[in-house]
Symmetry: C2
Subunit: 192 residues, 2 copies
DNA sequence: GGGAGCATGTAACGGGTTACATGATTGG
DNA sequence: CCAATCATGTAACCCGTTACATGCTCCC
């Protein structure tokens, strides 16, 4: 009778952190933070620094990662994390067996549109315009990121996610533009 | 020197709850829960029942809503909430002065794509197909909701948010289809 | 009679945040 | 030399969730 390995029950952020390490790099918490901000943040997550560190400690305590302190830099130590074999097995289990959580979307600006019978619509329009520009910038950054990812075979799937993100944010910009036009037209018609 | 009213610092969910009441209905916590599930959930939020009740209590304690217990139904009491004048002022302040929080997107499936070098891609493709179908259904429900909202003038902006949601989820379905096709093609080519 | 929906509430927990604290290294 | 960046960590807090608990009313 074979001992079946159970998937550990960890929060999504832990899997994201482990996911970063599954690309085989040996990284510090600080590295992971930047990694996350530059790629994962487009479609998931912008975790705080402190949580990354505590998540890493947890992952180590259950044996999914190991760490060693780099001694070269004498005084302030860097702690370097790497995924373990068990970590790889668990990551695979997660990728295969995790049941789909619904997409979490919290779009505060749409909440403001929805509640626009309170308050000044011109400010809302201004906020939407800003959001459109920001979305466009994000889309461009994601596209750029996808180009970079295409150069490294190991980043193939990360690159796919980047492409998806580029599309997502460019469509978000267009959607926002559409909403903007709707509100602006109404405002103009009332003014006329 | 005029006393300027400061915007209260409340969590976003509190504003969402207050927003529901700003449509002038007198509602129970239970009503608000359903309201939220049917419309706000498309672009924001799917809060737990318990939080709605505690949020209502908080809103009452700071004077943004009032409640009275309906006596008609003898035994089990329904508590009916309504927005106050102060609540209206605060809602307006929120709508005007809240600085834009970034959109929160947590797309677990994209996290799985991003980490697809671990694990079986065929399961990922199946999960994506399911997500595409679910997104399509959501889009259709949102569109239906927008049609209903169009009948009532007070729901004008809520209707705009519904239209936006319909577009969002239909585009989400298309985006997912695109990702699906990419992964499927790669799989086929490898198999060939 | 029983199940679905209406209706409210408490308690425990934890995920994740902000703020605070510390200090080394690097480059202008 | 000073600022920015690298780098790690603790403590307090709270938002929001799940689970539990209760009991009504309406309809089949």
């Amino acid at each position: 009778m074979s001992e079946r390995i159970e998937r550990l029950d960890l929060p999504a952020t832990a899997w994201a952190v482990l996911g970063v390490l599954s690309f085989d790099d040996v990284l510090t918490g600080y590295d992971i933070k930047r990694w996350a901000e530059q790629s994962i943040a487009f479609f998931y997550w912008a975790p705080s620094q402190s949580q990354i560190y505590s998540e890493l400690r947890r992952l180590e305590s259950v044996g999914l990662v190991t760490s060693r302190i780099e001694q070269t830099h004498a005084a302030r130590s860097r702690r370097l994390y790497a995924i373990t074999d068990l970590g790889r097995i668990q990551m695979r289990l997660w990728a295969e067996t995790t049941e789909p959580e619904p997409v979490v979307l919290k779009h505060q600006l749409m909440l403001r549109v929805w509640a626009a019978h309170n308050g000044d619509r011109r400010r809302l329009i201004a906020a939407l315009a800003e959001h459109r520009d920001e979305a466009r910038r994000r889309g461009e950054r994601a596209a750029q990121h996808a180009v970079n990812a295409a150069k490294v075979p190991a980043w193939h799937f990360a690159g796919l996610a980047d492409e998806w993100s580029a599309r997502y944010w460019s469509e978000e910009a267009e959607r926002t533009e559409w909403m903007l036009a709707r509100l602006q037209t109404e405002l103009d018609e009332e003014g006329a």
